[in-house]
Amino acid sequence: MLSSDIMRGYNEPIILSILIKGDNYGYEILKEITSTTSEIYSMKEATLYAVILRLKKRDYISSYKGDISHGRSRTYYRITSKGKMYLSEMKKSWHETKSIINRFLDIEEGWQ
């Protein structure tokens, strides 16, 4: 299991990268993270919601009420154009970070 401290800085782009594929709701985002990482990383519910609050505050995502199913409606989140721009900046930043860390750890570029 990955340390949540290491992943903390990338929780925002992780959620945005899920939302760029389509609108989604809280618990499904959590499940998507767990399944994409083959359960190596699972985000805590409180962490997810704190990140959602932060993304909403910065206008990177918006929310809306979905259709009622099983007697209740769900809140869906949608990435905004500002959020898309931020995600593309974070991708660039990740490439740079990865390249720097690889140099220190003697890992060749392109190593999987």
């Binding site: 805590k44 409180a46 919601y49 959602i52 099983h70």
Partner: protein, 207 residues
């Protein structure tokens, strides 16, 4: 589910000023989804409830986000109030005392005694005192909140602007008082400055 609502309400009591309604609803959704998922995986209802609540115990990160939001909202509201008050005081400082000075100037000419003009000092001094009070109050709120919101450099820039504008307006009042007839010529300058400052602050805050 009742138990989840009670849990969320207990947490809500710790920060009553927050915009809690939306947060509460969204958190409940996640809790209920997780509960249903655990039930589907074969867990007993009581165990699932305990598990969901225990996973949500660590509210630290959510508190941080909500508290920050509260401070930002409160700060924006206070700044808007004081900016508006300062703006209208600047307008009042020129319109009301200026008008009084013009009227007193006419009476002084009629009575051939300039001493009557000193009565004009009362509204002028009152306006200046109130304006200074508002500026001091506004700056103290700014420094208090911006320390928390970590935008000190921006605050310093705005402080310099405020001092410059204050100085310009004070100079205008002095000139206005010495040469009462000049009010119509110089009036648009401080008004334009105040409007510019007000719009600039609004724009900066929305960015």
């Amino acid at each position: 589910m009742r138990k989840f609502e009670e849990f969320i309400n207990r947490k809500a009591m710790q920060f009553p000023n927050s915009d809690w309604a939306e947060t509460q609803h969204e958190l409940l959704e996640i809790m209920e989804d997780k509960y249903e998922d655990l039930i589907k995986s074969g867990m007993k209802s009581d165990t699932a409830i305990d598990r969901v609540i225990s996973d949500f115990q660590d509210f630290g990160e959510i508190y941080d986000e909500l508290e920050n939001k509260d401070i930002r909202t409160k700060y924006d509201e206070l700044m808007d109030t004081y900016t508006q008050k300062t703006f209208f005081t600047v307008l009042g400082m020129f319109l009301i005392p200026g008008l009084i000075l013009v009227i007193l100037g006419s009476i002084a000419n009629l009575m051939n005694s300039r001493i009557i003009l000193f009565w004009g000092l009362i509204p002028v001094c009152t306006s200046i005192a109130y304006f200074v009070y508002l500026l001091v109050k506004r700056e103290s709120i700014k420094s208090k909140y911006e320390k928390i919101l970590e935008s000190k450099s921006e605050s310093r820039l705005r402080n310099t602007q405020t001092v410059l504008i204050c100085f310009t307006i004070a100079s205008m009042i002095v000139i206005d008082y010495i040469v009462a007839d000049s009010i119509l010529i110089i009036l648009p300058i401080p008004i334009a400055t105040a409007v510019f400052y007000l719009i600039k602050n609004k724009v900066e805050r929305t960015l």
